[in-house]
């Protein structure tokens, strides 16, 4: 191979890389390789905390994301929902994002409806939906849900909803989990909720946001599900303890196969580019 070919390795047209990546991911989606995860250090405390709650203890899941980040965060919401419904813990969904109502609807449509047909809205789960305010909303909810939500998304007053019978404010929840794709999201929950209130706060975040939230663990966050991998780890914990009550391969675990293949392709291109650089440089020095 001539020196110019090695140089060419450093300047491959990016469109070939995109094409290679697309082919690799599509192939992996079709073949569906499954790489089983095991629950990691940051995910285990969340799973253990929900396991430790007495049946009937309310759990709050804040769906602070939109469809653009749903592939990463929706599997977390689905896994948490499965865990809570299996354990008999009524779930409250709310959102700091205007798209939150739709995100909650997808969980009901894709998880609760098909897998838990006996679950009743208002008893096993309730959707409060979106409210404007961000950090001020979190602060207001500390003392009273009713101060900001007069009714759930169906228009039923909170006082008539059995899932909220034990709830006045955030401190009445057994655990609060914010699944966050940006602002307002997990950071606002830490600053204005978890650090001020007396409830355990856990989080789930996108890969982009993860480095921002790692420093909060373990003092300010009970645990953290970071990106699709975090969701896959939670699914692995569910599979370990409730294999007969959850799907064998869930959404995040299914996504980790193509994800791993895509990473291998990226690593291969990085190695190729570096090999081109080093070999090209060496040949140039040799010619001098």
């Amino acid at each position: 191979m001539s020196g110019s070919r090695f140089e060419a390795l450093q300047s491959i047209d990016r469109r070939w890389i995109f094409l290679a990546l697309a082919v690799a991911v599509i192939a992996a989606l079709v073949v569906q390789p499954v790489f089983r995860d095991s629950p990691g250090e940051l995910v285990v405390p969340i799973f253990a905390a929900i396991e430790a709650l007495a049946p009937g203890t309310p759990v709050l899941i804040s769906l602070d994301y939109s469809p653009s980040s749903a592939p990463e965060l929706e599997p977390m919401a689905a896994a948490l929902t499965r865990h809570c419904l299996i354990r008999g813990l009524p779930v409250t969904y709310l959102s700091l994002w205007p798209t939150g109502n739709h995100m909650a609807g997808r969980i009901v449509e894709r998880v609760i409806g098909p897998e838990y047909p006996d679950a009743v809205e208002g008893r096993e789960w309730v959707t409060l939906g979106f409210q404007a305010g961000g950090e001020l909303l979190v602060h207001a909810l500390l003392d009273s849900l009713g101060s900001r939500f007069a009714a759930d998304v169906r228009g039923i007053p909170l006082i008539e909803i059995p899932a909220l019978a034990q709830v006045t404010g955030l401190n009445d929840y057994g655990i609060v989990v914010s699944l966050s794709a940006g602002t307002p999201g997990l950071k606002e929950w830490v600053l204005y909720g978890g650090d001020v209130g007396a409830f355990p706060l856990a989080g789930g975040c996108t890969g982009v946001g993860a480095p921002q939230f790692f420093p909060y663990y373990p003092r300010q966050l009970l645990g953290l599900m970071a990106a699709l991998k975090g969701a896959a780890e939670y699914e692995a914990a569910l599979n370990d303890d409730y294999a007969d009550r959850v799907p064998r391969v869930m959404q995040a675990t299914r996504g980790m196969g193509p994800q791993t293949v895509a990473h291998l392709v990226i690593v291969a291109f990085i190695l190729l580019g570096n090999a081109g650089l080093f070999i090209g440089e060496r040949r140039k020095r040799g010619r001098r």
Binding site: L29, L191, V208, P211, A227, L228, R254
Partner: protein, 231 residues
Amino acid sequence: MIHPLAVSHDFGVWVGALLTLMVFSFLYRDNPFYKFAEHVFVGVSAAYWMVIGFWTTLWPRVIVPLIPEASRIVSSDTPLPERDLSAVVPAVLGLMMLSRLVPRLSGLARWPTAFVLGTTAGYAVVRYVRSDFMHQIQATIGDGVLIPAAGGGWNVAESLAALVTLSGTIFGLIYFMNTRRGGTVTTPAARIGLLVLMVTFGASFGSAVMARISLLVGRLQELLGDWLGLL
């Protein structure tokens, strides 16, 4: 496992799939299909935010408190809420914000802007000092660098992690103090700090790549599964 082709009959799925392909076409080069999808996205997002904003904020917090009879428009059997004239304050502030649209009155918009910025800054400063400053210092040095193990002795892994966290923080701070304009590093300690920052940025970049791949997998799952029914 690959299934026989079973293309969706859902109009929404088709719209989503075609818009996804139009956006992906930008990877080849800029083109009218991408521009179309981009404009649709911006338009739909703005409209969605406006509708949600109206029904979750403007309607229940301003219009209904000021004109309780308006609630009958949505539901005729709803009991009339009490009139709450305090809603005049946010209503007026909101209208003052809109005064930017009239050049002669645009100065009025400074008042609600100042109110929002002042309130948010005053409120946030306490929380940030507590959560991002005090608690983070405590988390960095609180337990020292020798972490005791449950069964006696020292937990080597945790102690090493605490040492890396503490020294990484100190060297990172030294980098900012011992760097001249133009980025010239002046001391060996600052050089280590630079290394710490580079590792941090590398980890962040790796996380960002991982996140983008997850989104790609998600879109392709919808294209191959929901749209074409192949999965």
